[in-house]
Symmetry: C2
Subunit: 233 residues, 2 copies
C-alpha cells in the first residue's frame, strides 16, 4: 500500500492548497483523534449529512447504522460516501476582519459504504467501538447478545481516496496592518473531559479512575486517544 493517497479531481484541496496533506500517516492520525465524523451521501439526487461515531481498522472505516441504512440495505453493492472529520485547534485573531481564521485539522475521505452482514464481523466491530475509547473494557462486560447484533447495522467502507487539510500558527496580516491598535494572536481550543458522573439510576460498581485511566477534571481527551493510538500502532 503506498504511503500517500494520490489526489484526484474530487480529493485535491483547492482552497489553500499549501495546507493540504495526502500522506496516510497524517490522514490516519486526524481520523484516529476524532470521536465523531460527518457522513455525506446522496438520496434521490439530494445531499444528506449524518454525524456518527466511527472507528478505523487499517484502511477501512466503520460506523453504526445511520439514516442511510434503508438505502444501503437495498443496495448491497454499496453507495458513494464522503466522510469528513474536523478538529478545531484554535481561534486566530488577525489585525483585519478579513484575515481572521481558525486553526484546524480536517480530513475528507471518499469510498463506497456497504452493510456488514456477517454476524461475527459485526460483533467484532461493536466491541471495537468500545475498546477504541476504553481499552480493556469489553473484558469486564458480558458478551454482546445475538439480538443486539441483529438490532443495529454496521457499515464499513474502504478508504478509496483521502486528503487532509491543516491550518496552524498565528495570523498572517498585511504588512500595512501590523501597527494596528488591537490584540492579535491565537486562542487555543480543545475538547476536554470533565469529571466522571456515576449513573444516577443505580450506583455503579467499579472505580472510574482505575477502569478508565486518567480522566479527571481538565484532563485532555488526548490521553484517551493516545491510548487508542498506541493500540492502533
Amino acid at each position: 500500500m503506498p504511503d500517500s493517497f494520490t489526489p484526484t479531481a474530487r480529493s485535491r484541496v483547492r482552497r489553500h492548497p499549501e495546507r493540504a496533506h495526502y500522506d496516510r500517516a497524517t490522514v490516519y492520525a486526524i481520523l484516529d483523534a476524532a470521536l465523531l465524523c460527518h457522513v455525506g451521501y446522496v438520496i434521490d439526487g439530494r445531499p444528506y449529512v449524518t454525524p456518527t461515531l466511527f472507528w478505523r481498522d487499517g484502511d477501512r472505516l466503520y460506523w453504526h447504522g445511520s439514516s442511510a441504512s434503508r438505502m444501503l440495505r437495498a443496495q448491497a453493492a454499496g453507495i458513494p460516501v464522503c466522510l469528513a472529520v474536523s478538529h478545531i485547534d484554535g481561534l486566530v485573531l488577525a489585525r483585519s476582519a478579513f484575515r481572521h481564521s481558525l486553526n484546524y485539522r480536517a480530513v475528507m475521505v471518499f469510498g463506497t459504504a456497504a452493510i456488514v452482514a456477517d454476524a461475527a464481523e459485526k460483533e467484532r466491530g461493536f466491541n471495537a467501538f468500545v475498546e477504541r475509547l476504553y481499552p480493556g473494557r469489553t473484558a469486564r462486560l458480558r458478551p454482546i447478545l445475538p439480538q443486539e447484533v441483529k438490532a443495529t447495522s454496521l457499515i464499513g467502507m474502504a478508504i478509496d481516496e483521502a486528503s487532509a487539510k491543516i491550518r496552524a500558527g498565528g495570523p498572517l496580516d498585511l504588512e500595512a496592518d501590523y501597527a494596528a491598535d488591537c490584540w492579535a494572536g491565537t486562542v487555543p481550543v480543545a475538547l476536554r473531559l470533565g469529571a466522571p458522573i456515576p449513573d444516577e439510576r443505580a450506583p455503579p460498581r467499579g472505580d472510574p479512575a482505575q477502569e478508565l485511566g486518567p480522566l479527571g477534571p481538565g484532563a485532555a481527551l488526548d490521553r484517551v486517544l493516545l491510548a487508542l493510538a498506541r493500540r492502533d500502532g
Copy 2:
C-alpha cells in the same frame, strides 16, 4: 413564521425519534453554539462534505466560499445543501458494550445555497463572522478593502427544513445488567479555550483580556458563545 419546523420525509429523525426536536428555539440554539458546520452537497451525483465556519442571521445561514463555489457560480439559482452541526457533550459508559453511547446536540438543516453577489451584503457578512465571536472587534479594525470583498465568496441559504437531535443523561442498561461489575455513568466533554497566545511575528498591541472578555485557561467557550447568544437575542 411558525415556532417549529414541520418534519418531512427528509428531515424527520428516524433513529431514536424520542431524541428529536423541531422547534426553532432548540434548532437555533444548537446552531448558534457552534463554530463549525459540515456542508453537504452533490456534484455529478456524488456526495461532498466540507467543514466551514458559519453564521446565522434570523432564518438564514452564511458561510465562506467552499469547494462548491465553482459549481455555485455556474448555478445562480443555487444548489441543494444539507448542513450539519454537532456538539459532543459526553461519553456514556453503560454496563454492556451495546449500550455505550454519546451525549450530543446535533442539527440537520436543508436548504438551497446561493452565492451572495452584492458587495455591501458581503462586507456585512464578513464583519458579522468576526462580531459573532468577538463582539465589538470590527470597530477596532480597519474597514474591509474592496479587493478583500472580491477575493472570497459568501454563500447564503434560507433554512427550509431543520431538525435537532439531542441525547443527554446517563446510560440506559438492561435490567439484568445493573449488577455488572464495572463503572457506569457519563464523562462530560466540552470545547474549552486555552490562554491566548500573542502573535509571534510581531508583538500585538492591545490587551486580550480587555478586548476578548473572559477567556483565560480553562474558561469555557460558552462564555464567548453566550455573548454571541445575547447579541442574537
